[in-house]
Amino acid sequence: MIVDPELFESMRLELRRGSLVLAVLARLREERYGYTLRQALASDGLEMEESTLYPLLRRLESQGLLTSEWREEEKRRKRFYRLSPMGEAMLSALADEWRGISASLDKIL
């Protein structure tokens, strides 16, 4: 049976949507600015549009999960993000949840 590519793409995006927050939090254990974070995620196989990533970073910061700081680097001011203590606790809890879901799905699949 041939898989409908459009339907597959829509379901794939739906599947990935929730996991991207987890990936962003995990990658920000180490301080990064938006552009290098996107590159790091892409090298992990998690491509993300800028128009999605940057607003997500601001939202996570407003939720207290990230901290940010403007600093000059390579002759330009950049905004660096890092996981806050609350963000670390959240990442740990979400990672446990993710492993649980993954283990359950592995049993079924």
Binding site: S51, Y54, K78, R79
Partner: protein, 374 residues
């Protein structure tokens, strides 16, 4: 002004003032980083088209700015959407039913042009339908904007779901006028098994009172109502001052009745609440009937410069006079006399009916709550 400034200005215009500078500074860094990375790949400066292609990849300014919005992303969100859709469907069906009734009455009442009546009904439905959709959408968008979540979205009871049949035209037809076979065919299974949809009674009352209200405020007209008598010898009927005096009170009475019908449609199991409201409304109806009767003069008939009053008092509530109904003369005075007698008895019987309604409602009010005894 270069491409980046133009692009960022377009984004900035959509952003809230307090965050604008911060977001734009970050976006500028992103764009410059993208340009530099591409220039490094190519080993040369980017052309205008290549720069524009990267800005295209980042996204349309409206879309990019919208991602930073803190409020809801849509006018009606996915949680509220089913309720919005129900309100629109049920409202449109209600509008259609009202227009159909008005059209029917206009056609039966002898309009000058049937085609014009049909055209007015279609225009009326389209106009009122668009208004309805607009009003429901504005209410839904306001609820989304302030994050208001009504209690009925979470705390609903199965016994109160009958009004949701309103969005199904088959349920309307089957419940209000269908035969047993039609009900079995078109109505939902639960409706087919029931002796009738309980909402049908309230719906009919709501529609009928709604048509009366529209006529009362002058929104619709029934040409046949202002002339009485055989063709060629018709008398013009004009209302007595009592109707002007009671205009607001009668309008309020009818609107209150519609509100109770609507509440009954939404919560048919709220028997005691409905009984209390109906007792109050019936008491108001009794007062209105008493005041109208007490005025003594209800209408005036005019024909060829001659006038006669449709008026009455207690003396007309006499069985012997009722037996003689129809024995009067055929002139204007005779017609007014007959109508005076009919009107007196109609008012008296209405008053008796309202007294029974008050007693019945009060009786239901003191009965144990059926939901608790069930």
């Amino acid at each position: 002004m270069d491409l980046i400034d133009r692009y960022l200005n377009a984004v900035a215009a959509q952003l809230p003032q307090d965050e604008r500078a911060d977001i734009i500074a970050e976006l500028r860094d992103l764009i410059l980083s993208r340009f530099e990375a591409r220039e490094e790949e190519l080993g040369r400066a980017l052309t205008g088209d290549e720069q524009e292609a990267i800005l295209h990849e980042i996204g349309h300014p409206l879309v990019v700015a919208a991602r930073y919005r803190k409020g809801p992303d849509s006018l009606i969100g996915p949680e509220l959407f089913p309720y919005w859709l129900f309100a629109v469907k049920a409202g449109l069906l209600l509008m259609l039913a009202v227009q159909a009734i008005v059209l029917f009455i206009n056609l039966v009442g002898g309009p000058a042009d049937a085609g014009q009546s049909i055209s007015q009904a279609i225009h009326g439905f389209i106009g009122s339908g668009i208004t309805l959709i607009g009003v429901v959408t504005v209410i839904g968008a306001a609820m989304e904007h302030v994050g208001y979540r009504p209690r009925w979205m979470d705390r609903w009871r199965v016994s109160e779901l009958s009004a949701f049949g309103l969005s199904d035209p088959a349920a309307w037809g089957a419940a209000m006028g269908g035969t047993r076979t039609a009900k079995a065919t078109w109505a939902p299974r639960s409706l087919g098994r029931a002796r009738g949809w309980p909402g049908g009674e309230y719906l009919f009352s709501f529609l009928a009172t709604g048509v009366f209200v529209l006529w009362w405020i002058g929104a619709i007209h029934f040409p046949g109502l202002i002339r009485l008598g055989p063709p060629g010898a018709e008398a013009l009927v004009t209302g007595a001052p009592i109707w002007t005096t009671l205009f607001g009170a009668i309008l309020l009475y009818a609107v209150a009745q519609m509100a109770v019908d609507l509440a009954s449609l939404a919560r048919p199991s709220a028997v005691r609440m409905r009984a209390a409201a109906q007792a109050v409304i019936a008491a108001a109806g009794l007062w209105l009937t008493w005041t109208i009767f007490g005025a003594g003069h209800w209408f005036t008939l005019t024909r060829d410069g001659e006038t006669a009053r449709i008026a009455g008092d207690w003396s007309l509530l006499d069985i012997d006079r009722l037996r003689a109904l129809g024995d009067g003369t055929r002139d204007l005075a005779g017609m007014a006399g007959t109508l005076s007698l009919v009107m007196s008895w109609v008012l008296a019987l209405s008053a008796i009916g309202l007294v029974f309604k008050i007693v019945g409602s009060l009786w239901r009010l003191v009965q144990p709550d059926p939901r608790r005894t069930a």
